[in-house]
Symmetry: C2
Subunit: 334 residues, 2 copies
């Protein structure tokens, strides 16, 4: 059957508490006692029951990752990054899909915490901006870190890339190539990154003295279809853009497809650029210029913050002009 601390203590000839001390690497245990206990543990191949630990103790050695993003690649990057850090920390990760639009979001998050007793939570965009969710976490006083929040940056520790700067960089790049009529496809309205990218686009235009034309800006939803639709409208203009910058790569792929359908030669007739959120576009079509999104790195950094890393501001320029920022706002750590 399964051995317990009681069994170990019997063999070692000490109390249960002493065994517990050894297991938890507490101080105040004599070397000889420790040795006796360790030998007994080895003899029984004893493994402490995690369930009992959670029930009796304060920590569960588990954290939850809550997400609601319809891009499989984004989810994968987030999971992989957080996962990697959790492995290092010896902590179990519970991945939790959710629905930001649901009126029960807060209740579900509360339920998750009640059920699993997780020590901390990582929220990825767009759950990062669900007020009910944040309130629920704060009510319970549980540490949490947000990945790419769109609002209230100071409300918690968080990590994010500098979307404004990245969009500005890309737009400036297109301007430097000689483009003056630059189309822009906005991202999904739920994500604040969409606004930031649009702002960066506009900022670059302003700085370069290129006039901002509303007709060159089209709404999108971060999916292929909306990229197609936007491209069709932009390319039907009397004076169509010579470059189109999409707020993510699924939409950029849509733009590319339309360009191909119309027999345009890229990049001669049209330059297409995009945020490579899902690592898709840069792969599928060489003429596509992309801003790489460091999702995995962000996720890893988020977990680090949760585990107590110091929240310094990190500016790190990756190959495609990316900026990663990590900031600690709340003192709550695991």
């Amino acid at each position: 059957m399964r051995s317990t601390i009681k069994d170990v203590s019997a063999i070692a000839g000490v109390s249960m508490k002493t065994v517990s001390r050894v297991l938890n690497k507490e101080r105040y245990v004599s070397a000889t006692t420790r040795l006796r206990v360790e030998r007994a543990v080895a003899e029984l191949n004893f493994k402490p029951s995690v369930a009992a630990r959670i029930l009796a103790g304060k920590r569960s050695y588990q954290i939850a990752l809550i997400y609601d993003n319809h891009s499989p690649h984004y989810i994968h990057q987030i999971q992989t990054g957080v996962w990697a850090r959790c492995i290092e920390e010896g902590v179990r990760l519970l991945a939790q899909p959710s629905d930001v639009a649901s009126p029960h979001l807060a209740r579900e998050i509360g339920g998750l915490i009640d059920q699993t007793q997780v020590d901390g939570v990582i929220l990825s965009s767009p759950v990062t901006d669900a007020p009910g969710a944040l309130e629920e976490l704060e009510r319970r006083g549980i540490p949490y870190v947000r990945i790419s929040p769109g609002t209230e940056y100071e409300r918690s520790s968080s990590v994010s890339m500098d979307d404004v700067q990245a969009a500005d960089d890309m737009t400036s790049h297109l301007i430097a190539l000689g483009h003056r009529r630059i189309g822009f496809v906005i991202g999904h309205a739920n994500h604040t990154a969409s606004d930031l990218r649009l702002f960066g686009y506009r900022r670059a235009l302003d700085r370069a003295g290129v006039s901002f034309e509303p007709k060159y800006v089209r709404p999108g939803a971060f999916d292929f279809a909306s990229g197609e639709a936007a491209a069709d409208i932009l390319l039907d203009l009397a004076l169509p853009p010579t470059a189109i910058f999409a707020s993510n790569d699924d939409m950029a792929a849509g733009v590319l497809t339309v360009a191909h359908r119309r027999g345009l030669s890229l990049p001669r007739d049209l330059s297409v650029a995009g945020f490579d959120d899902t690592a898709l576009a840069s792969q599928l079509w060489p003429p596509l210029t992309t801003v790489r999104q460091p999702t995995r790195e962000l996720a890893y950094a988020a977990a680090s913050l949760l585990f107590g890393a110091e929240g310094e501001v990190v500016h790190r320029r990756l190959p495609h002009e990316l900026v990663l920022r990590a900031s600690t706002a709340a003192p709550k750590k695991i």
Copy 2:
């Protein structure tokens, strides 16, 4: 803050044991009592502590999903499908990445089970075919279901699509279009589906009396780059194929890119077909013909088997000639 069964019982005006009965759907609870308890549970948004359940009872109401697949979309489909069924069952899902190539795979799976006391496990390809993993699960007598196993179909309950038939169908379709020189890009060697698809391709050729030419078959690795490489070699042949059938869509996308790079007009100069494993290819390029892979449905079915669904053989033809099979080999259910 956190509510317990005690709180619920106080509100409902019954004993803790009765609350427990309702929560566990036991018999011998009057309808009125059940209703009162359910109302109290809802009022408190009560969620039982998993840790306490494990400690006191036999079940943990958790299952684990173990995967090692480098396609984010595949993982996402698998997670989503299993997740949906778990929600219905009121069971928590632990998603566990792993490394089939690791010598510690079995030990890690064992550790996961010890720690979390999961009631059952779902294995997705290619972990389905890791002998050490299966042995570990069987040694512990824990129920498990495999999704798309490549070997020993009778060893456990499993679900899978009929890859042979699907590849046969697609190849037959190409032959019906008049193609006689049909290129084929094999999938990753780790996945038995690769062999099955190749077999289906060959079976269709044989039946149609089209000679099998080894030079038209190229190895691949389920990724974009290997699709590109294969297409380059195939199209450089003295007598190049008029159609290329890739074993998944990432590779098909690679083929398409090469075709475009060479200025081929699709589908006039070349027909490109592929298994749409990641739901990518059919979206990106209209002339691509695809076999849809019902990953999500398979995952859902796998969870159903784990939860005790009868293992009937289901042949279900979806739009793109897909066949789903579910079979129960072992009596072990949760």
